[in-house]
């Protein structure tokens, strides 16, 4: 009887085009849009050399220290760096003005009774040029002052010691995974897609509840135990939605190259638990709210969106804000727990956080399922 019900519920779920769109196609479309948006975001982080001009006049040629300094940070250096700080064009002043007006260079440097910088507008590139020149002038001034006050100083050593800076901060990676701000968005998307299983849960309860559908009334008149019907319906919904979630996971990892780490077994476990949590969440809402189906769907979408937002789907910093200020909200949010599970698998080398998340998700599932069954088992209704 359970198998009979299970297979027919599978057919019903798979043929429900509307729900299949929201649970399978929509997350894939959203993931694609995320990918398009974030690929531009990461390219913005890539550094490209700042194009500047240097007016090649007599005073410039006489300033060998500056020429040396520029060589060390420009495309004319000998170290062969891929992205030197400056891409320098040596020009006349008139030509430099023209290049600046045509936006071919961010600014130009020329010597006229000292170092001069000409820019057309203020921006990051102009700030970098100015910072470089300020630092050069500061260093030159320091060296000059020392030489004047102490003529016997070893100039080479002095230049070397002033130029070489010691960094007292050391960057230590918390895991083998490389830091990536965008993965949180995709993990939250996976969480949202998992919770979309609630649409299936809602439909399954409607199909077996006599006061929610005429089909449910007919099912209730049949000599079949409600628990068997409920289990078969839950299994069918979980099967289809787990397939949907694995398709999304495959799309994210194989097509969009989103990094989920290498712990495939635990990733699959997270998908499985997340799916059951999503489906049982839908059954819970459907059985407890005695209103129309449209309102229930609206409530499910609303709750899922809020939970996904709080887990960082729209703004990755939200997850951090909540865990810093109201950590209990993070633990009460199934979407956050799913996101956090993927996050823990990706970043952390231990599984403490991961198992904590999974246990909490299981607890939510048990609460949703038992509560739903307690409502469903009441087989007589006050009204139909």
């Amino acid at each position: 009887m359970v198998l009979h019900h299970y297979f027919y519920r599978l057919k019903c779920i798979v043929r429900d085009k509307q729900n299949m769109f929201w649970t399978l196609i929509f997350p894939i479309v959203l993931a694609t849009l995320f990918n398009l948006a974030f690929s531009n975001l990461s390219s913005a982080d890539n550094f490209s050399s700042i194009k500047i001009g240097i007016v090649d006049n007599e005073e410039y040629q006489s300033n060998t220290n500056f020429i040396q300094a520029m060589k060390s940070v420009s495309n004319s250096n000998q170290n062969g760096e891929e992205n030197p700080l400056f891409d320098v064009q040596y020009t006349s002043k008139e030509e430099a003005d023209q290049l600046l007006n045509n936006n071919k260079i961010a600014g130009y440097i020329y010597f006229d009774n000292g170092l001069q910088l000409v820019v057309k507008e203020s921006g990051i590139n102009q700030t970098i040029i100015k910072s470089f020149l300020d630092e050069y002038q500061q260093t030159s001034s320091t060296i000059m002052t020392i030489i004047i006050t102490n003529p016997n100083v070893d100039v080479d050593n002095l230049i070397s010691s002033v130029s070489n800076k010691t960094n007292y901060l050391k960057e230590v990676a918390v895991s083998k995974a490389s830091p990536n701000n965008t993965v949180t968005y995709f993990y939250a998307l996976m969480a949202m897609a998992s919770l979309y299983g609630s649409f299936f849960g809602l439909n399954e309860v409607t199909a077996i509840q006599g006061n929610l559908s005429s089909q449910g009334a007919r099912v209730n008149i049949a000599p079949t135990h409600k628990f068997k019907l409920f289990i078969a319906a839950m299994l069918a919904a979980t099967t289809v939605h787990l397939f949907n979630i694995f398709v999304l996971l495959g799309y994210l990892t194989l097509i969009l190259k989103v990094d989920f780490g290498s712990q495939l077994g635990f990733i699959a476990l997270t998908c499985f638990i997340g799916t059951i949590t999503g489906v049982s969440f839908g059954t819970f809402v459907s059985s407890f709210i005695k209103k129309g189906e449209g309102l229930k769907i609206g409530i499910l979408i609303g709750i899922t969106m809020v939970l996904s937002f709080m887990s960082g789907m729209m703004y990755d910093g939200m997850k951090y804000i909540i865990s810093s200020n109201v950590p209990i909200l993070g633990y009460l949010n199934p979407a956050n727990l799913i996101t956090d599970s993927f996050y823990a698998l990706y970043y952390y080398s231990t599984h403490t956080q991961f198992f904590m998340d999974i246990i909490l998700l299981c607890a939510f599932t048990v609460i949703f399922t038992v509560s739903t069954y307690l409502v469903l088992r009441r087989q007589q209704y006050a009204s139909l």
């Binding site: 006599g210 007919r218 000599p223 139909l384």
Partner: protein
């Protein structure tokens, strides 16, 4: 006794939907539950099926109390609901197989039963159709097939012909008679008195949650004072003659509208002959003459003071 309902009371807040409702259905009969919309027919059926809670009373089916978990009783019941209760995502065959499968485990037996049900409602050409592709009449037939495929001993049909074309209606009514002949006990609810008169062996008339009369078609008509209604085609008749007709013995009313004289009489013998004799003696030229016995509507009208169709 197949169904015995005693003193059933069902309230929706202040509204009493069933008011000390009594009903007895015997084995092998087609029992009609006739009443206007909102009289409580569907509520009574839902209580009998243990879908609805009720405030008072008892329901016994096949000599056992009917409860939500009375699976041994439920397996002998087939229900055809007022609303079409099928799944849009399943084909005609799959819908029947799904509901039949809730009663019959064996696949081979089930396949045979499903085919028989499809044959019974003449849906052989539509097996692979989805419900949304079916017309209203075909959809009703599918609804019936889903309810009867497991060959239940007791079949409850709750207004199965609502919004159905005449051809499908005749098809459904013929089918119900056949099911009864094959041994099923039928409970049939409707607000169409013609259908109930046509197929039911015993009828209960309901109003405001109460059974107001029960009996066979003839027994119910015998309970009232109304006799036949005679309709006579006349080219003309003056008001004096009409008044004279109204004063004849046993005549309740006489109206002349659109060249038709409609005369209603009270219960009694030879009312038609007396009227025709009167018209002949007064040299009134008579066209066609129709005589109708009292209907269930007359029964309802006389008991409640309102039309069944109101």
């Amino acid at each position: 006794m197949v169904i015995k309902v005693e003193n059933l009371v069902k309230r929706y807040g202040d509204l009493i939907a069933l008011d000390h409702f009594h009903m007895e259905v015997k084995e092998g009969e087609i029992f009609g539950l006739l009443g206007p919309n909102g009289s409580g027919k569907t509520t009574a059926i839902n209580c009998i099926l243990s879908l609805l809670k009720y405030d008072k009373g008892s329901i016994v089916i096949y000599n056992k109390p009917m409860l939500p978990d009375a699976y041994d009783i439920k397996r002998h019941i087939g229900i055809v609901m007022q609303n079409v209760a099928v799944f849009e995502e399943l084909t005609v065959y799959e819908n029947i197989d799904f509901f039949c499968g809730m009663y019959v485990k064996d696949k081979k037996t089930r396949r045979k039963l499903v085919e028989e049900a499809i044959d019974f409602v003449h849906l052989n050409d539509f097996k692979k159709f989805y419900p949304k592709k079916l017309s209203g009449g075909l959809l009703r037939r599918l609804n019936i097939a889903c309810g009867i495929a497991h060959k239940p001993k007791l079949i409850i049909l709750d207004e199965p012909t609502v919004a159905v074309d005449p051809q499908s209606r005749n098809n459904i009514l013929e089918g119900i008679k056949r099911l009864n002949k094959e041994g099923a006990t039928i409970v049939y609810t409707s607000h169409y008195m013609e259908e109930v008169e046509e197929i039911c062996t015993r009828i209960a008339i309901m109003d405001k949650g109460k059974i107001i009369a029960t009996g066979t078609n003839d027994e119910l008509k015998g309970m009232i004072n109304s006799g036949e209604t005679v309709t006579v085609e006349l080219l003309e008749i003056d008001n004096n003659r009409l008044e004279e007709i109204r004063n004849l013995p046993n005549i309740v009313s006489a109206e002349y509208i659109d060249n038709l004289l409609v005369v209603k009489s009270s219960k009694g013998k030879n009312n038609l002959i007396a009227l025709m004799d009167f018209l002949k003696t007064k040299n009134v030229n008579v066209g066609k003459v129709y005589s109708e016995p009292p209907t269930l509507n007359d029964v309802f009208l006389e008991i409640t003071g309102k039309e069944l169709r109101d």
